[in-house]
Symmetry: C2
Amino acid sequence: MKSEINEKNAALGSERSVIREIFEYGNMRAAKIGRENVFDFSLGNPAVPTPDCINESIARLCRENADVHGYTSAQGALSVREKIAETINARFSAGASADDIYMTCGAAASLTITLNALVCSPQDEVAAFAPYFPEYRVFAESAGAVFRAVDADKDSFQISFASLEKTLNENTKAVIINSPNNPTGAVLTEKTLVRLCALLKEKSTEYGHHIYIISDEPYRELVYDNTDVPYMPAMYDDCIVCYSFSKSLSLAGERIGYIFVNPKAEYAKRIYAAVCGAGRALGYVCAPSLMQYAVAENMGDFADIAAYKRRRDLLYNALCDYGYDCVFPDGAFYLFVRSPLDDAKEFCELAKKYELLLVPSDSFGCGGYVRISYCVPEETIKRSLPLFKKLIDSIKREQIL
Amino acid sequence: MKSEINEKNAALGSERSVIREIFEYGNMRAAKIGRENVFDFSLGNPAVPTPDCINESIARLCRENADVHGYTSAQGALSVREKIAETINARFSAGASADDIYMTCGAAASLTITLNALVCSPQDEVAAFAPYFPEYRVFAESAGAVFRAVDADKDSFQISFASLEKTLNENTKAVIINSPNNPTGAVLTEKTLVRLCALLKEKSTEYGHHIYIISDEPYRELVYDNTDVPYMPAMYDDCIVCYSFSKSLSLAGERIGYIFVNPKAEYAKRIYAAVCGAGRALGYVCAPSLMQYAVAENMGDFADIAAYKRRRDLLYNALCDYGYDCVFPDGAFYLFVRSPLDDAKEFCELAKKYELLLVPSDSFGCGGYVRISYCVPEETIKRSLPLFKKLIDSIKREQIL
């Protein structure tokens, strides 16, 4: 009998992402030569512990609040949304009320819900700047849009406005920004963002419809040396923030985040309604209740950011020292390194011989680099350094010969 | 400037469901006359407490397992899926392995992911039996299918095969069953299901493609008097079970459940891949990790089912006694009562005068009834009984006059 299922989703489910492929390879190697001898820099699973205050809140909420496991309203518990609005108002003068906040099952859900709220025609286009998180394409296409990649600005990993201007057209519905960026760790400067906003406003007027900025902010809190991460809704009215507590509180598996629809957007109320509708249509009844209450109780707390900074400094300084060409990451927990070989995949294969598991940058829409996730134990980084040195030395020797 | 957002989702997000509407009215009344004087039977939010073992697991996992808040694999932690497979194999001889189980954010996610895995053409039809959970229509349409309601069998609330035969056609992709049923509490008997399976097998052969049964089972464990709830995968190969721990463990807000793809289905592996792909496309990165581990540790435990039975008996016996015509519920926590007035909405309006908040059955695709959610404190039921009596007595008086 015929198989008549959704083949697009079947393909999506059977292709392992490049990152998962490497992760599984690492597990295989670990079984063979011992976990401590494999240096897996592939995944973005935070190794810095969840702050104690979160676990304490969880335990107390379970003990004291009989309703903690019950349904909240679909957009999230009112008290939680109020607390988040209050916090972003205090930090960013966001002008938010509880009714502009929609609690989600993490950043991916924030993005799929937002995209399903905005996209309304198969001609709609969603643009993102290379290098970009590969799932942006999946999410945009699944919401029914065409995904468009803007070429990378390989000089500074800000924005290539020449490429952006070529990408924008009357079908552009939204532009996704991600600062601090996965996979480069770059933070978009105020100067860059001012120019971006001006261009998008100009184009919105030209096309006669709003171009939305979707600000994907899972790494907002992970910045070092007091780097400023400008708040997009303060700069651009038609902005929707997709936030997640996955990295800021090391809660990646718990799936907790929120959407903030800028009340200054012309159709803010209607967009918020579409967010609620999209969440409903995709099967998100409410965000996990216990986690909603737990994060609301600890809005000022973050995982140990200094621990990430130590890892960044350790890895960045050593790798530069050995002769690698690295993008200096102001935030997130990724190091983006130019491949010493023309073919980044070939370089990653070579790195495997030293048990170093790196991700080639091709799947991020920008060839010639590798991504190193340094959200691993500090000890792992320390013990990997001699191998990184051997790796580049072997290439240098080869190139001299 | 034009608003070009997804108007379908905006409409879905701004229309409050009838149930939510009543719930909000209840809140308003409670503010006016006191919570204890409003008898809100509208929502299915379990009032029977979460078992202590779950809260103990949560506290211990947070204390002892440093990785408990980290990403699990997309289909769920292997140990969790193994435990679930083992449990359903022991209970139902399901022949399941961990690779047939996909952990989800609750029943709604189980359904949207399953529907997105199966539906592949705008002609595809998904059928459900009235009275049905209203979101079935939303989920099916959002997955791109046509929703088809099979008329209710108002004699026994089993299946009207005459209506089903009229509904089935070569576009039928799947049939959703929900036993015990929301809103009637009826349990489909083995005899009914044998007939259903035979018919669907016959039609699958006739149409040359598989018709899937999606068994939506949030109420599986909530049955009384040892009522048997046959396990569909044992009776029908092309079956996908959508399970949730929301009711069985009073964890409705935590969004935790699973999909079980029957390995006996001809294309089981491909369907499972499509489930993984659909989950990914909809933004479900993984089910909440802490809850995955917590339910896996307590697979044999359930909320206090006897407490629900006491409520059912109390309410059913009293209402029958007063002269209401009630469907006897073998399971779930709903009482489906024939409206004493022709118009169920009018009856619900009248009930409001007695501060009794009931849901008219129209939105369940079956007019002339009301749904009473008895998952409320026992005391609430006891104190409501005199009001139910006054309500029907007032109607009887009116009808005599």
